[in-house]
Every structure is written in structure tokens, then in C-alpha cells.
């Protein structure tokens, strides 16, 4: 039982990191950024490139992985800003369907662009997180798992402080509440949206490097499933709500761990997407989402 909780929390912390970006972007410009999962994938590949070009990093353990993660975060952050600038901003006044399709197209561009560069085969990561296995109360947890959960939690805490305490964070919250009102109050909407994309994409990139270093193998389609899972996590928690994204990620991770234990591995995706449908049907605002008042 405890083992299932640990496994669920671990996978859930990945989902939460990716779901944060989904949720932030949705909260601010009401866009489901389907390319977000692929930014996670690009993050993993950026890490791969850094590890293979800077030879000294591969053996350096956790510190070098953190450094590579930082580089990948900056790169994916800038990539996110670029995507928003090129693909989403020109369409901001268009019907939401047009932007959604652009996002799906962007996702394919990223996937098959990476495939063109690195080829279709899975790539093996330059650095691997290795560590002792600790056991307590009949459950096992490995040192890398603890490290990655701590890193994920730290990133989320920093993000929370940024959104809640800083001036930029306040501007983000203002735009989420009322974009036009915020603009009238002198908030530079474009700048804040860019910043949102930067942060969300950087978090996804960090998750990508962590996944590469932990699991050891990455491929150009790895972002697809986790993109859907992050979307599910964001919906479960309440899309557009930051605490909701974190909670949703953890809840989805736990649901999957217990679901696969009871039903068997092949039911994992069926189970999590069934939960998505249940939430959409009965509580579309998610666990923490507020009731949306329809503005006429």
C-alpha cells in the first residue's frame, strides 16, 4: 500500500511539473497548449545534447544534472516564448478553435523536427541518476526518486512565491482575472504572457531532463502521452489554478498507481482517462476550480 503511494507520488510530481505550464497558459489566455508535452520532450533532448557536447558533465552526478537542467530550462523557456510569439500571438483575436489547431500543429512540428535531427530511435541518456535503495515499512524508495521529488517540490515552491509575491506574478493573476481590465490598469499584457510561457515551458523542460536522467531513455514521441496526462492532471485539479495543477498531478499519479495495481498494467491509461471524463462530466472545474460565472 505504502509502495503504491510512493510510486504514485513520484510519477505524480512529473505530471504536476508539466501540468503547471498547461494550467498557467490556460489560466491566462484560455489556450490548451497541446505543444506543451513536446516542450517536455525538447527539454529532454536539450539535456542529451548538453551532456554529449560538454563531456565533463556526464559523470558529475547530481550537481551536473542540476546544471544541465538549468540550461535546458532556459532553452525550453525561450522556445516557449518563441512559439507563443510566432504561432499563438498572431491568432490571439481569432476563434479559439483556430489557436487550438495551431497548437496541435506546433506539437507535430516539434515532434517531427526532433525526429529529423535525432532520428526515430530511442536515445540513451548521457548521465544516469544512480543511488541506493532505501526501504522502510516494507516499501522501497530510491535515492534518485527522493532527489527528483525534492527538486520538483522546490521548483513548485519557487513558482508559487513568484506568482504570489512578485509584481510579475500579480500582473499574471490580474490578466487571468480580466485581460482587458489589466491592460487598462497599465499591465503590459504581451510581456506577461511571454513570461508565462517562459516559466511554464522551463518547468516542462526541467521535467524532461529529470525523466531522461532517471529513466535513461528518451524518444521524440515521449511528450505525447505525458502531455495528455498533464492535461488530465490540470483538469482534475481545476484548470487555470496553480495549486490545482500540483494537486491534480499528485492525484493522477496516485490514481494510476492504484488503478494499475487493481486492474493490471494495460488498464493504466483507460483508468486515468476515464477519470478525466468523469471529472469533465460531473465537476468540469476540477477539485479546486472555482465555479466559472458566465459573463454575458
Amino acid at each position: 500500500m505504502l509502495q503504491l503511494v510512493i510510486d504514485g507520488l513520484f510519477v505524480g510530481s512529473f505530471y504536476a511539473l508539466v501540468a503547471l505550464g498547461y494550467s498557467m497558459v490556460y489560466g491566462i489566455i484560455k489556450l490548451l497548449n497541446f505543444a506543451h508535452g513536446d516542450i517536455y520532450m525538447v527539454g529532454a533532448f536539450t539535456g542529451l545534447v548538453v551532456f554529449s557536447t560538454v563531456s565533463g558533465l556526464a559523470g558529475g552526478g547530481i550537481l551536473s544534472i542540476l546544471l544541465v537542467m538549468l540550461i535546458a530550462m532556459i532553452f525550453t523557456g525561450l522556445l516557449g516564448v518563441g512559439i507563443e510569439r510566432i504561432a499563438y500571438r498572431p491568432l490571439r483575436k481569432s476563434p479559439r478553435l483556430a489557436v487550438l489547431i495551431t497548437a496541435v500543429g506546433m506539437s507535430f512540428i516539434l515532434e517531427y523536427g526532433v525526429r529529423q535531427i535525432f532520428g526515430p530511435n530511442p536515445q540513451v541518456y548521457g548521465a544516469r541518476l544512480e543511488g541506493a535503495t532505501l526501504s522502510f515499512l516494507d516499501a522501497r524508495i530510491t535515492l534518485p526518486q527522493i532527489v527528483l521529488m525534492v527538486v520538483a517540490a522546490a521548483l513548485m515552491v519557487v513558482l508559487n512565491l513568484y506568482i504570489m509575491r512578485s509584481r510579475d506574478g500579480r500582473a499574471m493573476r490580474a490578466i487571468a482575472l480580466d485581460p482587458q481590465g489589466a491592460q487598462l490598469m497599465g499591465v503590459n499584457v504581451d510581456k506577461v504572457i511571454s513570461r508565462t510561457f517562459f516559466i511554464g515551458s522551463a518547468l516542462a523542460g526541467a521535467a524532461g531532463v529529470m525523466a531522461g536522467a532517471y529513466y535513461g531513455s528518451i524518444d521524440f514521441l515521449m511528450g505525447f502521452v505525458i502531455g495528455l496526462k498533464a492535461f488530465t492532471a490540470a483538469v482534475i485539479g481545476g484548470i487555470g489554478n496553480l495549486y490545482g495543477a500540483m494537486l491534480g498531478g499528485i492525484v493522477l499519479g496516485l490514481l494510476e498507481a492504484f488503478g494499475t495495481h487493481w486492474l493490471g498494467g494495460q488498464w493504466r491509461d483507460v483508468f486515468s482517462f476515464a477519470c478525466l471524463i468523469l471529472f469533465l462530466s460531473f465537476r468540469p472545474t476540477g477539485i479546486l476550480g472555482a465555479r466559472v460565472v458566465e459573463r454575458m
Partner: protein
Amino acid sequence: MSTRSTRRSSWRTVFAPIALAATAVLTLAGCSGGLAGGGDAASEDGPIKLGMAAPFSGSESAFGPYMQNGAQLAIDEINAAGGVLGRQLELVTADDACDATSATAAANKLVTDGIVASVGGYCSGATLPTLPIFEAANIPMVIPAANSNELVKAGLNNVFLINGTGTQQAEAAIKYAAKEGLTNIALLDDNTDYAKDLANSVASQAADGGVTVVLQDSVNAGESDYAAAVNKIVSSGAQLLYWTGYYQEGGLIVSQLKAAGYTGQIMVGDGSVDAKFAEIAGPAADGVLGTFTQTPDMLEGAETWISDYTEKFGAAPGPYSTQSYDAVRVVAEAITNAGTTDGEAVITALEGLKDFPIFSGSLTFSPEHTLTEGGFAIVTVGPDGTFVLKDDLKS
């Protein structure tokens, strides 16, 4: 879009395009089947075309080029020796992406290209839907790599397997386990036709072979965290885990098993026998066993073949290059014996082949159009990460 639609809930706006896309894909998949049989009969002059549908993109895309090279090598050799029936052979490839929809399209393309025989087929799940297409066009298939029992169960007259079937591979796994005294085994597959079939074959033969299946489970391909399956295996007390899926997930599962403290033996099916497996699994690959049809580097007297291949393609032969090489030779032999490229005649000639030498032994087709000799051996991960022969199971 009318103004009303903007007032709809955002969820409907989200799902409408997804539903639309899904409908479009389904319709396309349905239509492409209807094209079967539209191909024209092979022309009587010009090169004799052999078709190969194999994965050149997607998760299994590593194998397509190996198969293509193996087949091309055989074709070049046969052409240099004067061709077949005085005509040159030509290889036509199509990408099946290891996916049923793409495979259907690929098979239809090959049929319209006017191929005389098919020498392709790697993923069983992608090869299955192509069988009726080739049958309707009266095209014999010599399948080099795909080996699910489902391919045989369809009972189509044009289908020949020159790789051992799942049943034969399962026999090899059980035989080895019994030989080593490993009586409690766990089975794990990745939900693909091939892997499920192999796992089910082991499960149904286990009792006869004297081993007990203590756990059978499936995982979804394309994920990275397999904690649930790993935990079950560890607590099942299995002395041997047999992973029947492909190498990408296999590598991850093996490394996660070792991290979770699993101490039993690990064996993988032929879909995981690849150097990439050890690369992905890292140090956890040590001592992992595999069931595999023998590759040229394990065969005696294959040195010239290997050096020919390496010289021609600039890389060492990979998995299934020998089987594809053999598939072309088998087809060429049958066409020569038949004296014509007519599908019916070639099928009869294939059925009549007797003790034709191929890499895995001598070939005579069983009434089900499978090998009479299985040719599966036990391999293990060698020092440089490639699999090497451990036990040929001949004794």
C-alpha cells in the same frame, strides 16, 4: 461558426476537433481496405518486383533498414548471377511504421506497384491486416520477421513464415527454464499482438514443460514508469521473468526491476534482442537472457556473408537482415521452380520446397506454412552490450 458557438462551453470547443479528427482517421482506415485487389497482374517483362513492407519510421524503425539491406544483398547476388527466369529482381519498399493503418496503405501501394511476391513483415500487429490485401491480389508472402501465431491462424494460403512462430519461441523459453530448474516464471508483455501471443503461448505450454506461471501481466508501450508491474513481479517470487515485448520498454523495465531489488533471472523475447536494449537498461542488463533466432555472428561459416554485408552497407548486419536475405532467396527459388511469376504457381512451388538451406537450418514448410525446425536459441548480453549465443538448445 456562428456567434452562438462562442457561447458554448469551452470543453465542447476542445473536443469537437478531436472527434472530427478521429472520425476522419477511422474513415480513411476503412476505405483503404476497399482498395485491395485493385492491383494489376505482374507484367511479363522488365524486372520482377518483390515488395517489402517494414517499419522505416516509428518506434521500431531501427529494423526496417536492416531488413531492406538483407533483402537487397540477396537481390544483388541473384541479379549478378543472371537473375530469375532471365529477368532481374527489384526490391520495392513501403513504410508500415509498425502500425496497422500505415501497413494497410503500404500493402496497397505495393500491390499497385505490381509486386510479384512480398518479402516484408516485421511487426505482427502491422502485418496481420496486410494478409488479406496480398491474398486478394494473389501475391505470395514470405514473412521474414513477424512471427505471431495469429498470422498462421488466419489460415490464408499465400502466407509463409520463415521465422519461428510464437509457439516455437515459447517452447525454447520453457525448455531453458526447465533445464535450469527455474520453475516459477512471471510473464510480462506490452499489449502488442506479437508480445501477447508469445506470452499466451508460454502460459499455455508451461504446464507441459514443467514450469508454473505465477504472474502474467501487461504494460502499455510508450510509457516510462513501470513501477506497478515491477512491484508485482518482485512480490510474485518468480525465479524467472520473461519479457515478451520490444526493447525500448524492455530496457526500462529491466533497469527498474533491478532498482527494485529483483534478484531472479530475466529473459527477453526476440523483439528485445538488440544492442539498444543493453544501452537503455545500463548495468542492469548484466546476465539478461534472450530467446532468439540465430543471427549471422552466432552462426558458423557466416563470416563471408557478414563481410559482404559490411562492405556493401558500411555497417554490421543487424537483426532480421539474415531472415530478409533468406526470404528473397526462398522466393527466387520458388519462382525459378515454378517457371512463372503467377501467384498460384509460386505458392505451390513454395509448398514444394524441400530442405532449402537458410540461415536457421534447412527449410521445408509445414502444412501450416511455418518452419519445421524452430531454430530458436538462448542468447545473453555480452560484454559490449550485444547479445551472444549462450545455449543453442540442441542438446
